[in-house]
Symmetry: C2
Subunit: 250 residues, 2 copies
């Protein structure tokens, strides 16, 4: 059925260079994605303490954040852009296991090593903390620790969900589910409405839901022609909600 998207055939491979720049954190209190992130659990005092141990890192598109198998020495909170979480399969195919959106917390696996890789899909910024600093801070701030745990539960739920999405479903069901799930995630960030940002490429979507890039493209086009969605630059607008939900359930 489906085709290895070898990493070599991707238009460009992830670049080995890591973080592009580091800046001191200033004014977490004015950070616009804070409400959607784990930092929402911190009051003014804790926040400035937290600021002191973090740095803002920027990543150019395709820059690696961390690699599977590597020691997990840093943790991240995405503040803008999009991070791809992926595993490279023995046959060269890339399976995207998740997307890190602004507000998402990344890089704290159960063990001491990463179990998947992460790179920036577009220009991305993230607050970076040394694992030890971060853990020590969390252990001194119980509310924060609980919030972290919540984040982990949410990630697990998403993974479970994704597992059931990947199975043998029709292309339009997969794409419809994908759009609805992205919409739900953006709503937690923006509140937003019918417009769903999709900053990732068609290839990324395919590697996430388990479809060929051509099929992804065709399916978007079909949904557009059917009047279910409208394709807009870097995203879609949902025109017929019930129809989309209906498709997602197939």
């Amino acid at each position: 059925m489906s085709m290895p998207t070898s990493i070599e055939t991707l238009s460009r491979s992830p670049t080995a260079n890591r973080v592009r720049g580091l800046k001191l954190l200033a004014n977490c209190s004015r950070c616009s994605i804070r409400p959607a992130s784990v930092c929402s659990a911190l009051d003014a005092g804790a926040l400035s303490e937290f600021e002191a141990i973090g740095r803002e890192a920027s990543f150019a598109p395709r820059m690696i954040v961390f690699m599977e198998g590597e020691r997990a020495d840093w943790v991240y909170t995405v503040t803008s852009g999009l991070v791809r979480l992926f595993r490279l399969l023995p046959n060269g195919q890339r399976q995207i296991v998740g997307f890190g959106l602004p507000g998402d917390f990344l890089g704290l696996p159960r063990g001491e090593r990463h179990v998947y890789s992460a790179d920036a899909a577009v220009g991305t910024t993230a607050c970076r903390f040394h694992r030890q600093d971060f853990i020590m801070f969390a252990e001194n701030h119980t509310r924060f620790l609980r919030r972290l745990h919540d984040a982990a539960v949410k990630a697990l739920d998403l993974a479970q969900e994704q597992m059931t999405q990947l199975g043998p479903r029709r292309a339009d069901a997969k794409i419809a589910s994908f759009i609805l799930s992205m919409r739900a995630r953006w709503m937690e960030i923006n509140g937003a409405g019918e417009s769903v940002p999709l900053p990732m490429s068609r290839q990324d979507i395919g590697d996430y839901v388990g479809l060929n890039i051509a099929t992804v493209s065709r399916t978007f086009t079909r949904l557009d022609r059917q009047g279910v969605i409208r394709i807009v630059p870097k995203g879609v607008r949902i025109l017929n909600f019930p129809a989309l939900r209906q498709l997602a359930e197939q």
Copy 2:
């Protein structure tokens, strides 16, 4: 692509009846699967204390152990048989998210409610503990708690693995991976060799790896004809290891 295996079309639906019988635990110290279970972390003293809070439950084939959404009041350690972990999708399809083999620990989700259902695929026995008793016991036995954590990590790894298996891979690759993964799991229990028990039905395998029952059957037959495996009652024997590994990597 793929077909809803509606729960109604399954030859028989899971039965609503729960545990068939309960017996006091006697002689955990002689339990043959103990080395493969979380109980392996307990010494003689702790073991008899542990015995006191558990009961051995038996389940007839297709009996429900617990259901998605239900409060998770009991936890289980499988001692014999096979448990199917599954979610029912909106379209009626059943996605099997894992198999509980002897030694596996089940029923302690992150939240207070189960996120998937479980039923017995064949006649099954399991040690059952009240969640509270179990948690209290674990908190008083640090080695046991760590062992529990290890079990959770292993389960997560398996789920991650499964997520990459489900994607768009060829039928023989999926089946080959499945056989190798089952073999690896049995080896931890039996040590065993080339013979891999497969107590679950073809339908179960299909709902796990994302293939139609007919395709599952055809693929097993093909691998048999090619001399890669030999189909034996309730399992397979691996004849050509390198070939199987090779297929699994596709």
